[in-house]
Symmetry: C2
Subunit: 572 residues, 2 copies
């Protein structure tokens, strides 16, 4: 699975990786299966049976699921090679496309094989039988609890994969290609009207799919069903309430900051910074914060991304531009945050040991990018590295405070494009898109009225006039890939990062000191304890936070973080 | 499929890629299938039907075969990445191993699917029917001739894949692993006796497999059957006769050269040559001779090899060492020769458009490495490139003639190791191994007597005393991988390269001038016409040569090339 860093793409064209299944990684040495189908009824003798020992169906199921994992990972290898190493000639690309199509077809066949569904049901029945015979045995509980969660996840995944009739799946596949082309063309010529029919088809198709996926459960709203694909267990009402709090706090606050005359100097960002020096700085820093290069790689590509070829082989790419140094570094740190999550997942090679959600994933990248990488202590630590790389002939003679101010300065003039927005403005860019998506899915907003609504919100949120649709509602790829319900995860991740930062500092009061000394391991280990190692064991981001830090997602941490920080920076 | 350059591995440990199936490459736009199962009987109207239009079985067969091609290529991507880019940590390797195992299992299932056999038979019947109804139509002939060859190749391949019972296949797989380990250990401790039982098992298993593969056809000797795997259509008797001629000519000739006092100075080879400069020289040269970097890549790895990830994506690796410049360049040119063959195969994505054999492949690499890359005009062309790269402060101030002499100088002192041997001694290294393999398979030589036989031959051929088995019969990996019958292809390739060189110069009398001017394209195009584009259309290396240059493989070209060249170099 690839996670793409939209924030740090210099170009507006970028791709979303498939988000439908997180493929976990490591192989796992299972205990020797005794192959008995019945539990030996004994009160005294050997250790209690695991489900894998008790249930032949479960054992067979796990084997099939792991095969699918390995197939998906093989596809990732081909995808990574295509993005980073392969020549871009047409014949070369065509051949690679055929290879990927064959792998995808086989993986799909295996994932939708009715036999898989039967095994899930049989294993579930076997689990119930085993649980009822030894309900109080503590040794068995962890294995059975885990098995229960595995079966839940796989049941849900199987149902989703198989509820789409072939014609609808074919229409979706074809639409993804045609809508993408239409979007590219519309952007090039600033012609929303030419894209509108495809866009309507994208929304309609996504709704049809959501309708099938929710099945008989009409309690789940359509948009909630769509959101669940990217952020499980966080329905529309929950997100709506959180986003309203953020919107209410930030619109006036941003207006206030915008009016300040105390903008920090951006001079330390400007100049000429050799790409090799930037690469070297980035590599040094991502390894220092904890990216494990012995189980991964650092490369360069057109758009930064993270991709797991297995959880023991997590690769990140960066992109650098000579005219500035911060974006390249920020992108690297962001991807490293994603990668450290993947690198510290469990090793079952099952969905259980994959990232909980896109939002949780984004909390990891933004934790490092912002709460570490935009902090004062970080620049006290990093300054010598930056000065050594860029400071020949005193060309980079800035204090840590000056650098801190510059990287956090907000560019209010150029605030049209989400992926280029700073952390203060970014939330409203996301809320704008969330509001529009929600309204279109609810039938409250017509697709043809998207540009007007977009521009109205940009004015309301930022006092900005959108000059054309290319720089307005045509800037993002997501809807043309039918990724409707994806946008909110960026803000949920931002909010979760701030909450984690708060609680991490509670557990590690020496947080700032650790960063200043370049001792990042305790921080990364805290995140592994609280987030990474749990994979998909929790039902939602909220459940994870309640269990691990004692409180569900609360917007105040995010709002306080931004208001305190920018009040200080802008001296208001 | 990877072709590994044994000659240029600096270390003795190296790997043989799977040789059992050549996976061809390019996708191919088939004409719209009319899906009719019967030929429309008409004398006047539309163009005659192709087999694909006439036979639903053939169409389905091609689709299945291409799927297998794409799967095999996907495995190559994973293998290439593993060899060149992937971290070497244990967990990383384990995970990649599982992915490869899944792909291999699926490819094997598809290749041995009984349905495939039925489709081949039905398509063959449909072909006969179609041929009988329009025997004289020239337009149809090419398509039908091609289809006939495709079906022949696939029938043979299917029969070979399916004649091995599961237990034997499992034993072979397990033996490949255990024999390899035993070989590595035996080499480390110079203990042939510890390896002998595994080695015997390798020969016995290979013989069992050959027995099954030849089926009822007892006319084919077992060793001929094994040879056919690597060099189709060249039985033991043919190879025996050719090799005897070479042995008879070279043993005395080498003795004469060895006695000469006019050894060329090797000084131009020695010194310190920065790796980056060597990389740059190699890249420049391989691209100049015709390696198409827009449909491939040039990397560095532990052992040089060529691997096709599709025929539009052919990758070569090189290896450099600071203390000398020639081996790294020779390795690159050698791999580029292999690669240009792959890059100019046809685009059906079927076995038809894969390399004819290992021997023909080697003729391509050696043509460029020796007949171009060891020639006087080549050094007249290359000298400025070498001098610019290595010649700072007059450190590389040699004439083209001095460089020519040095690269062709023979090291008679250090002539124990095949992969390090020069072109003059190399043939006898191959013949030594051929003689032993043949004798063991025939039951004339016991595995335990291999060291004695080896050492006796080394004395007879080279007047060399082998100090230990590590530098003697334990030096090559092949037998421990059950690649018995592989060695002869190196010498067949050498001989074919010399014959091609002779005929190329006949068709292009300006051959030397072209090289001296760096105009390699006409030469590469001649090879494409004579060899590359034919894929597996010919039944053997001999048939290809008869059809394309008018004469089957004739040892005189090779013998004359060596005797004339080295008589001149050593002034005898």
């Amino acid at each position: 699975m690839a996670l793409l860093s939209f924030k740090h793409a210099s170009k507006i064209i970028y791709c979303i990786a498939s988000v439908s299944s997180f493929a976990p990684h490591r192989s796992y040495a299972s205990t020797a299966a005794r192959a008995s189908l019945k539990m030996t009824a004994t009160a005294t003798s050997s250790a209690p049976l695991t489900l894998e020992e008790h249930s032949a169906a479960y054992k067979e199921l796990l084997d099939k699921l792991r095969t699918i994992t390995h197939l998906n990972h093989a596809s990732s290898v081909l995808n990574y090679d295509r993005s980073v190493f392969m020549s871009s000639s047409e014949r070369t690309s065509l051949a690679r496309g055929k290879q990927l199509a064959v792998l995808a077809t086989i993986a799909h066949e295996k994932a939708t094989d009715p036999q898989l569904g039967k095994l899930i049901d049989q294993a579930t029945a076997d689990l119930q039988q085993l649980s009822s015979t030894c309900p109080n045995d503590p040794t068995n509980n962890e294995d059975l609890t885990t098995a229960k969660r595995i079966l839940e996840l796989e049941k849900r995944s199987f149902t989703k994969s198989t509820c789409i009739p072939v014609e609808l799946a074919a229409h979706k596949a074809s639409l993804e290609a045609s809508a993408y082309s239409a979007w590219v063309k519309a952007r090039e010529t600033d012609d929303f009207a030419s894209f509108a029919p495809s866009l309507k088809d994208c929304f309609d198709t996504a709704k049809k799919i959501a309708e099938l996926q929710r099945g008989d459960n009409k309690d789940i709203g359509l948009y909630s069903q769509m959101l669940d694909e990217f952020e499980m267990g966080m329905p529309e009402e929950r997100i709506d309430a959180l986003f309203q709090e953020v919107q209410d706090a930030l619109v006036p606050f941003i207006a206030k900051i915008r009016g300040s005359e105390n903008a920090p100097s951006l001079e330390p960002l400007k100049g000429s910074f050799p790409i090799d020096a930037q690469k070297s700085v980035s590599q040094k820093i991502v390894k220092a914060i904890g990216f494990d290069e012995s189980h991964g790689r650092i490369d360069v590509s057109v758009h930064p991304f993270t991709m797991s070829l297995s959880n023991a082989d997590v690769r990140i790419t960066s992109r650098f531009s000579e005219s500035e140094w911060y974006q390249g570094l920020a992108g690297s740190v962001h991807e490293a945050g994603h990668a450290m999550y993947e690198q510290h997942l469990g090793d079952s090679d099952l969905g259980l040991d994959s990232a909980l959600s896109m939002g949780v994933h984004e909390s990891q990248s933004l934790f490092w990018e912002r709460h570490v990488g935009l902090s004062r202590p970080f620049y006290r630590w990093a300054r010598p590295i930056l000065t050594e790389a860029f400071g020949k002939d005193d060309k980079f003679d800035y204090s840590a405070e000056e650098i801190y101010n510059a990287v956090n300065g907000v560019d209010f003039e150029n605030n049209l494009i989400r992926v280029e927005a700073d952390e203060l403005n970014y939330p409203l860019h996301v809320i704008l898109r969330y509001n529009i998506e929600r309204a279109v899915v609810a039938g409250e907003l017509d697709v043809n009225d998207i540009p007007a609504e977009w521009n109205k919100s940009m004015k309301e949120f930022f006092a900005i006039d959108v000059p054309n649709d290319t720089k307005g509602c045509l800037q993002d790829i997501h809807w043309s890939c039918l990724a409707i319900g994806y946008f909110p995860t960026y803000l949920l991740g931002s909010m979760m990062a701030a909450q984690l930062s708060h609680y991490c500092k509670k557990d590690l009061p020496e947080f700032d000191n650790l960063i200043e000394k370049g001792e990042f391991t305790p921080i990364r280990e805290w995140l592994t304890e609280k987030v990474h190692k749990h994979g998909k064991r929790y039902a939602s981001l909220d459940d994870l936070l309640v269990a691990e830090v004692g409180e569900k997602l609360n917007s105040k941490y995010f709002i306080d973080y931004l208001t305190e920080k920018y009040s200080d920076l802008y001296k208001i």
